[in-house]
Amino acid sequence: MKRFISPCLALASVTIVCASAGASRPQYGGTLRVEVEAALRTIDPAAPSADAAEAAIRARASRLAFETLTAIDLDGLQPLLATSWETEGRGLRWRFHLRSGVRLHDGSPLEAWQVAASLRASGSSWKAAAEGDTIAIDTDTPLADLPWVLAEQRHAIVIRGSGGTLAGTGPFRIERLEGARASFRAHDAYWRARPFVDAVQIDTGRPVASQVGDLEAGRTDVVGVRPTDAPRLARRGLRIEASRPLELVALVFEPHRATDAALTWRRTFASAFDRDAMCAVLLQGYGVPARTVMPAWLSGYAPLVAVADRPVLSRSAVAALPVDDRDVTIRVDAGDALSQAIAERIAADAREAGFSVKVQTPVGLAPRPDARLVRIAFVPTTPDRAFAHASGLLVARGWPAIGPPENATLTAVHHAEQSLLDRLVVVPVVHVPELVGLGDRVGFSTVPGVRPVGGWNLPDVWLQGGKP
């Protein structure tokens, strides 16, 4: 028996060694399965959308197939389909030099006139024209940040064929969009090298809770994850990858609580919760205590923002408030589990301090709340554009206009943010990143599956069990 066991053990050892050795080398092939919550009606990046969630997922999916002239990563603005650019007339005229050797999904070379036509169709007021291998863009007003604007996915280069077909230069080509599933195939002639996987399949309209369950059951490979799901996935040994903090969760007081007379009350209530504990315990470390609107990596000035000193909060101080001021209602979107969890944590802390707090998640009519917990997603771009976008989201929800126009100086953006925070109508709570859960089949790569500035990086994801 011993003689039998020993060779078996030896064989098993060799098998394990071989398997582990093979597991460290990326493999080609397989279909990567992705689940997302929002619906996806089209992959055309220039198509209008009234639904922010759908627009966000479309930008992400369309990045698989369509590329922009420029791109944004942690090192700032980078060349993509354009290798360089220059301006004349202080931003009134721009010239973008196109990368050579780029092939469309049908194998034909990308031509400058196609790029110009795509830019004209993306709905902008500028005039784009091909000049040899260069794209010239004329604008009516100076656009100092045009290369940053062109990094937005809505300005991706899309070749529209007859019958509504869409072709691009990205790492995957669109195979079909049917019902709740979008299918992509690897673009073998991709100029930055073929992706590892053969295909990507995106199933849309999957609730986040179902996504996590599917990931645990091995029915999918890539899902969106909430910080509160992290312990559950960690117990299963599944990986989570995170972007930089890209979203602000903030307490925004309603107009009747936003008056100057209520400033002291707002300051007292804003001091009643512990951001650090919330970040460490509730968010499992996947969150940064927020004391500014914009995360530091987007603004560059966060340490210079003055934050009001927290008053010494005691039960007697809260007890001294009029009874009506001690009753606080926080409203949270009914479908937003993360905000609900954060609101409950704020409520628990505030109750400790002597407030009486209710968290309201109405689906119909409900009593007027004192504050809402809102989530504001940031666009990774210049500070003025990021702040303008964030303030636009607030304005769209009914709060007064804030913030400087785009192209403002950094000092002006800082001043606008400081003014906003000084009023204590918007109280930052935490900054949270975009989290992606990766399934068992996804092999380890030194390049993350989620980009630091947000969005997937699926060309670098590979599947174990694919072709060696």
Binding site: I72, R244, Y286, A296, Y301, P303, T381, L410, T446
Partner: protein
Amino acid sequence: MGRDERDARLKGSRSFCGASGSHFFRSQRSARLSAERLLKFAIVGFRAREWWTRFAASALILVAAVSTTLAQSRAAFVDLAPDLASKIAAELAPATPVRLSFPNDEERVRAEVARLLASRGVRVVETGDEAIVTGSCQANLRERVCGASIVSGASRRVVMITSARGASADTARESVVALEMWPVYTQRAPMLDVAVAGAGLLVLSRDSVSLVGEAAAGNLTGRVTAAQPIRTSRVWPRDTRGLLRTVASGFEAFLPGVICRGTVTPFALACADEGEPWPLGLDNGGLTPSRNTFATPEGLTFYEAAPLDAGRWLVVGERGVLTFLDAQRRVTARSESADHAIGFPDACGADGPYVVTATRGSPAGGDTLRLARAVEGRLIPLPSAVALPGVLTSLWRTSGAREATAIVHDFTAGRYEAFHITLSCAR
């Protein structure tokens, strides 16, 4: 490397919960740079020949590599200091004393701003209720930003300087400095110092100078081809110190109260009982045999001297207190204590001066070499450290070269090992 990168990445991805978002940024960068370190030190390990020494050296260096994370100062922002100082000065009344603070990892920017403010007549003080200037430097996606809030009484103003990211920022990127160390020779008998002489290696011990053939080619246990006794009537101290130096005519050996001069070809040595100054760079009257210390002409007692920039020095003083001297050898500051210190004033361009100090680890363990940068009378520790395989008995900077020699007594293995130490600089 893959596993280290993976560990570092996993660590980075879980490092969100901190005082600011920049914490995560640093963790990710640290992970990248740790991995870069591994490559560098893997190369270093192959300079030795014997497998066990090679292995030990690699292991030692791996310790340094893994611990090398980027907490180094943000030299990339120093170029913004002049404009920032101008803006700060413009906000202050003449001769206003200010308290200036920056985050710890922006010490170089703080020092530069302080220097520039002083040159504009602004008095920078450590304590007091004067104007409080709090500075910070960070980058957003478009630009590098240095700013300061100036609080004076009830008023608060913010000034900011920006510079576009790009090529200039890349060239200004902070250097990554790390200790690099490789073994050059080992023997069972005690040795005081070694020096490369042509293709051979000179080895100084208490009673002789030996010439080891082929040692310079990396043969750690090269054969002793010749030896000359040190003839002296002196009785050596129990913890004898010795220094070897090659000169145009041959070599010199400095021992307590004894100077030996010799030639390699033919191998000869002549010693004399002389209390000459030792070639430390810092003026001294030679080693005091009964105390094992040096003294400056002003009478300051020290064990070792590390050159800094602009004629300044850091010396290991009495009871091991690290003492900063200006170009006139006046004490300007005192810092923590260490057993040994050497300086690299001109290594890694303008980012220095760098200092390597050695401190005793646990009684059973070996000593540790630590890298620091000397700034304004303080040592700013850098995360590069090397755990030695035993007790450091000697640490001398090689004259005219950007390296130093360390002699380590490995009690466990029962041998003395000589190492060469340099700083590696990368951007």
